[in-house]
Symmetry: C2
Subunit: 154 residues, 2 copies
Amino acid sequence: MPKAVDAVAVSGLRSSALADDLSFLLARANAIALAAGNAALAEHGLKARSYSVLVLASGEARPSQRELAEFLRLDPSQVVSLVDELQTRGLVQRQPDPSDRRANVVVATEAGRHLVSVARESARAAEERAHAQLSPEERETLAALLRALAFPED
Amino acid sequence: MPKAVDAVAVSGLRSSALADDLSFLLARANAIALAAGNAALAEHGLKARSYSVLVLASGEARPSQRELAEFLRLDPSQVVSLVDELQTRGLVQRQPDPSDRRANVVVATEAGRHLVSVARESARAAEERAHAQLSPEERETLAALLRALAFPED
DNA sequence: TATTGTTATACTCTATAACTATA
DNA sequence: TATAGTTATAGAGTATAACAATA
């Protein structure tokens, strides 16, 4: 996530053309959420990226690295690094996919599942703080609208 | 913006814990919008960053580099590079701020204003395509909700 | 003393291409 | 011929600290 210059209420730029631009608002809101999320996850030695992989590896989906890359919009080579790191720390394992010997299925270890359950609390608390401006109903509305943008194929 | 692995409908990960996470949806929607925006701006020799600076420099606000950094959530040193590049291309000028001789006000040149008006059309068209899933009303709702997250001080 | 812009540096992230082993 | 994972590398983005000029 970007910097953190200060928190002084910003100039007359709020009334500029950009301030109504959906893409700009998306970028700024994301930068803020990412910074808050990374700060909260840091105490567990995780970042948004590695946390995401760990969460997905802790579920029932048994994703391949290819699927992780696509879902997280990362290059496959970036997933290699992330899984390497998590595997070195004993948090995930690569398991050969019986149905395709080229593919690795990434699954969390017991330690990984435990860490994710702890980290999830930190992440949830951070999100709670970051989104305190919105009511629960507004958050659900926002999630639904973002889902339409995030998964346009539906 | 990240990669572009493919566009195959993704696995069972859609039903994972992450898929309901507001921060994750924000990140994925932003990655998609940013990729589309950068692609559209590339034909004008711009990216989302430099386009944003140029838009702000084209308005009435006459922002200082410090204000640009804060508004765009960039480090002041990153703004230096962006303004350097735009200035080299004759698109913006640094003007001394009479009320504070330390500060540079960044203003677009005639060429800069012209380019931004052309580029804005490309950006608008790209956004139209990227957000085609949403109705105009939904987009306005989304913008209002994102504004609350992007500018939490209000 | 604090702030604006600047420079320099290190680090992380991203994009690309090539290679292997499988399909 | 195409795909999953890997490796390597170059480039873009980010974070940090220090400095000069000014407040």
